[in-house]
């Protein structure tokens, strides 16, 4: 058993004892490892709650009706069968077990599933108001999700906030038995589940004020409080696990538990001076037998576990128990498993390298189109389209996209009346009328367009991330298609003539950023006129006004306006010297064409001190665009 598997077992055990710690995200876990962790988590929840939780797997296909409504067949007294609508998988009654939501890939959740997670996690109350159902209940839900750290930008920030407990697995860090027994203060040979079961008999430890203060001090002021709460709740779960039996009321969480919780999450420790101060000034006496160092204490427990096993208390020998290997040790054999835990940036050093438990804070990303929880608006009657997620239903006007659950519910309402009308002529089946048919209302396809013209010969003088963020976020929120036009990029060999700009279409803003745009090295020539012409071609479809056109488009040009390559040279691939400002004249001419396009909003973003200050303004005037002076970039 690896150290990370052992750490995960601790984390899941502590989380199982903390009902409010309901969102756990595993970073970079393999599918097999995730499912094994899910099995163990359910086992621990059963140990903590006394009954098996109900598993619900959320993926990319679930609809609202799948999750919240269910049709059941009921036998009537007269022997006939009847379809009865009822609450779906996610609705709980007071006697129902805890639900475990398993999300194998957070970036691939369906629209309805994303909403469901947002509704149920960290919520004191949930409401169901669908298809006649009127329910209000207290959710008792846990969520175990997985996501590649590199793809975190594709996940909903809303959901990420609700998954504050993070655990970085690291590729290949786990063996065939990913989660196995962990020594706590349980008897020799006890499994984690048995330790959790024993811990439920103890009172919930109190978190002293000094510990709360230490936790707040150790996190930046802008850290969401859910994360600070997750840290303290995890520490409280750890404390409850290891309080010796018998334990009376008044047990307290100690600094060591917070340190251990930090380490499990991958957070840096609190600043040394403050940690020391809290240790000195904390009036709370540690529980009996507590060591002075949290990391040291856990190592002690591991040592003790090994000693017990060597003495014959083999935890893997009993039914349902898994074999465990020796814990990893550093060469000295005396220090914590991860001795260099703290990095200045707030991450911890793990065997697989530095891990950031909250990578969404550090990446410059745009929210992916499929991570928003809003639907696209319905203001335009588009062409009939079966694509897109269902967001509602309406009486059907065709037979191509029937919503069967609402249809059957609609039909079920009138069965009695219809049977009476038909007398004895009605058969045993459901009587469906054309008036019952319901079809889906679906999210429309892309109706917005963002065109970025990036002049790489000046891009490093512009704070690109800052000036483009709002446009990319707009594109992400609108699910806009994005066309990127690159002007003056050096590009790899064979990338094309430097006299030409190049463009590519991205499905969305996230793909545009992920494609590597904005990071090309600068080239020598500036075929800005050609770049604007490519932008014009991309926008021309929008201006045709046909039904496939975008509703709204933005053209964002980042340039100093010094386009030195004439349009003809870009098209022919050959330049005729000397040049006498034809490139700039062509830029202004193409800009004037762009200004005539309908439904296009334009803006020119110029570096702070352009070589010819009037050029960006002239270009903006020709485009009919706004002009923005960007903040300095790398080269100012």
């Amino acid at each position: 058993m690896t150290d990370r598997a052992r750490d995960l077992a601790r984390l899941l055990a502590a989380a199982a004892l903390e009902p409010a710690l309901d969102g756990i995200l595993l970073l970079d876990s393999s599918p097999a490892w995730f499912l094994a962790a899910a099995d163990r988590y359910e086992e621990l929840l059963r140990a903590a709650g006394g009954r098996a939780p109900r598993r619900v797997i959320l993926g990319s296909r679930e609809s609202e009706d799948d999750l919240w409504t269910r049709l059941a067949v009921r036998e009537r007294p007269d022997g006939r069968r009847q379809l009865v609508p009822g609450p779906g998988h996610l609705v709980q009654g007071p006697d129902d077990p805890v639900i475990v939501l398993l999300v194998p890939d957070l970036t691939r959740l369906s629209f309805a599933a994303r909403r469901a997670v947002a509704i149920l996690l960290d919520a004191p109350v949930a409401h169901l108001q669908r298809h006649g159902a009127d329910r209000e209940w207290r959710p008792r839900v846990r969520c175990l999700a997985a996501c590649p750290a590199a793809a975190i930008g594709q996940a909903s920030r809303h959901l990420l906030e609700r998954l504050p407990v993070r655990f970085a697995a690291g590729p290949g860090a786990l063996g065939p038995d990913p989660v196995a027994s962990v020594p706590m203060t349980a008897p020799p040979g006890a499994t984690v589940a048995e330790a959790v079961r024993a811990a439920t008999a103890r009172a919930v430890p109190t978190v002293p004020g000094t510990i709360r203060e230490q936790a707040v001090r150790g996190l930046p002021a802008v850290t969401p409080l859910r994360r600070a709460l997750a840290l303290l709740r995890l520490a409280r779960g750890l404390a409850r696990l290891e309080i010796p039996v018998p334990a009376g009321p008044g047990q307290l969480v100690a600094a060591e538990h917070v340190d251990e919780a930090r380490r499990l999450l991958g957070l840096a420790r609190a600043p040394a001076a403050e940690a020391g101060a809290s240790g000195d000034s904390d009036p709370v006496s540690p529980p009996p037998g507590r060591a002075t160092s949290g990391a040291r204490r856990w190592q002690d427990l591991i040592d003790e576990f090994d000693a017990r096993r060597a003495a014959g208390g083999e935890p893997g020998s009993g039914p349902g128990r898994e074999a465990v290997g020796p814990p990893a040790r550093d060469p000295a054999g005396t220090v914590a498993a991860y001795p260099g835990a703290a990095l200045p940036g707030g991450t911890a050093t793990l065997p697989g390298g530095p891990r950031d438990p909250y990578p969404e804070d550090r990446r410059w990303t745009v929210t992916a189109e499929f991570s928003y929880l809003t639907t696209q608006d319905q203001r335009v009657a588009g062409v009939f389209d079966l694509r897109g997620d269902p967001v509602g239903t309406r009486p059907a006007t065709h037979l191509r996209d029937i919503a069967w659950t609402p249809t059957l519910i609609e039909a079920a309402k009138y069965q009695e009346a219809r049977r009476r009308l038909r007398g004895g002529r009605a058969g045993p089946g459901l009587i469906v009328s054309p008036a019952d048919l319901m079809s889906y209302q679906r999210i429309h396809g892309q109706r917005y367009l963002l065109v970025l013209v990036l002049d790489y010969t000046c891009l490093d003088r512009v704070n690109v991330a800052g000036v483009l963020a709002s446009y990319l976020d707009w594109a992400a929120w609108r699910r806009a298609a994005v066309t990127v036009v690159e002007v003056g990029a050096a590009g790899p060999a064979g990338a094309g003539s430097p006299l030409r700009a190049r463009s590519f279409a991205a499905r969305n803003a996230h793909d545009a950023v992920a494609s590597g745009a904005l990071s090309e090295p600068r080239g020598g020539a500036t075929p800005l006129a050609h770049g604007l012409d490519l932008a014009r071609a991309a926008l021309a479809r929008n201006a045709r006004g046909d039904r496939s056109a975008a509703l709204d488009a933005w053209l964002v040009v980042v340039t100093d306006g010094l386009g030195n390559i004439p349009l003809a040279a870009s098209r022919s691939g050959a330049v005729s010297y000397p040049l006498a400002g034809e490139g700039i004249a062509d830029c202004l001419a193409v800009a004037a064409q762009l200004a005539r396009l309908r439904s296009v909003h334009s803006v020119v973003i110029a570096p702070p001190r352009p070589p010819l200050p009037e050029m960006p303004a002239r270009l903006a005037a020709a485009l009919g665009a706004g002009l923005i002076r960007a903040t300095p970039g790398e080269r100012g």
């Binding site: 903390e18 009902p19 409010a20 609202e64 919240w68 009847q82 009654g93 909403r115 947002a118 004191p124 109350v125 409401h127 108001q129 669908r130 298809h131 006649g132 159902a133 009127d134 329910r135 209940w137 207290r138 906030e161 009172a203 919930v204 109190t206 978190v207 004020g209 709360r212 203060e213 936790a215 707040v216 002021a221 802008v222 969401p224 409080l225 859910r226 600070a228 709460l229 709740r233 409280r236 928003y372 929880l373 809003t374 639907t375 319905q378 509602g392 239903t393 609402p406 079920a412 309402k413 009695e416 000036v467 709002s470 707009w474 609108r478 709204d552 439904s599 909003h601 803006v603 923005i628």
Partner: protein, 353 residues
């Protein structure tokens, strides 16, 4: 229908900070004609917590809540399905009708609502009549309710038509002071211990404080129309004109909110100070150029303008005797000015297209 009466909502008294949010909720309760409150802020800023805690304190139950995935039959009303299937048609009131009975409709994450549901709400809220013409029903039901909505502007803006239905708007931000953050942690952990640790007494002090505040607010509501507004009518129109508020909806909201604040403080008349305190809440989302969905700028110069308009303060008024005055809101924190965007409001400018 509730299957568990114990939702473990934090006592209102334990909601740390967010004074503007609390003020807006209380004013909306004191003067329902204000038209409700929109609370806009990032995740984890106690928006929903404060709204639910306030409803529990004042009414003893959660507000009528419209979830984001509600179907239109539950919004407008339909039939009790189980009875209908037994051949016993019995109308089932929709959420708008229930909200009309309770006076408040709460929409958590209001900007995530599907557009066709928003349209239904707008129709009922603007006309005061809920028209049900579906499933063999044909009724017109008078409904009057205030909208209370919470939203995270990161998830997208609110349609201007819906934004305009909210009387007051609060832009909340996360508490960053260590003392406030510590207090929040303390309260939430205490709620945990009360809920899961079998120590419900930990929250008793908060519930007791809630009871006292409820009594005081109820008394203030009873005396709302005893408060004179004669001295501020012209000022309210002047303020709205100075901030270029289109239409006429802003004027009465400012006046009513100032009157509610005066009643809350036990004053006999609403003054310029009251107008100054409530104007940002009533006007920030109505100003021209205000972006939809909470990206609304209220800069320090707006405070300066407001201070100039509301000076000099009218003569001091005598407090009504024999009423319990709530703590005066004398030092409201200055509304936080959003930083000027580096780019023109591209998303906002086109959002309404």
């Amino acid at each position: 229908m509730s299957d568990d009466s114990r939702f473990w909502i934090l006592p209102y008294a334990h909601v740390v900070g967010q004074e503007q949010l609390k003020l807006a909720l209380e004013l909306s309760y004191l003067a329902p004609g204000i038209g409700g409150v929109l609370v806009s802020g990032q995740r984890g800023t106690a928006k929903s917590t404060a709204v639910r805690a306030f409803a529990m304190m004042m009414h003893g139950h959660l507000p009528v809540t419209l979830p984001i995935n509600a179907t239109d039959d539950r919004v407008v009303g339909g039939w009790h399905l189980d009875k209908l299937m037994r051949g016993e048609p019995e109308p089932q009131p929709g959420l708008l009708e229930e909200a009309g009975e309770h006076g408040v409709l709460y929409v958590d994450e209001v900007n995530l609502l599907d557009d066709h549901i928003v349209n239904i709400i707008l129709d009922a809220a603007s006309t005061g009549v809920l028209t049900v013409q579906r499933e063999s029903r044909d009724e017109a039901i008078a409904v009057r309710f205030s909208l209370v909505g919470t939203m995270n502007p990161e998830e997208g803006p609110l349609r201007p038509q819906l934004l305009d239905r909210f009387g007051l708007m609060v832009a909340v931000e996360a508490e960053t002071s260590p003392a406030a953050r510590l207090a929040i942690l303390e309260n939430v952990l205490a709620l945990d211990e009360a809920r899961y640790g079998g120590q419900p007494g930990l929250l008793d002090a908060g519930y007791h404080a809630d009871g006292e505040l409820k009594q005081a607010l109820s008394a203030a509501r009873d005396r709302l129309y005893d408060v004179s507004v004669a001295g501020i009518k012209a000022l309210c129109t002047e303020v709205c004109a100075a901030f270029e508020v289109p239409g006429h909806r802003g004027d009465p909201v400012v006046l009513l909110a100032a009157r509610a604040l005066a009643a809350r403080e036990g004053s006999a008349a609403a003054t310029a100070d009251h107008v100054r305190a409530v104007a940002p809440l009533a006007l920030r989302h109505r100003r021209p150029g205000a972006g939809p969905g909470g990206h609304v700028r209220w800069a320090p110069e707006d405070d300066a303008t407001l201070a100039r308009l509301t000076q000099p303060a009218p003569p001091a008024v005598t407090a009504l005797p024999a009423v319990t005055a709530l703590p005066p809101v004398t030092a409201l924190p200055a509304p936080t000015a959003l930083p000027a965007p580096e780019a023109p409001s591209a998303p906002e400018a086109s959002a309404g297209a």
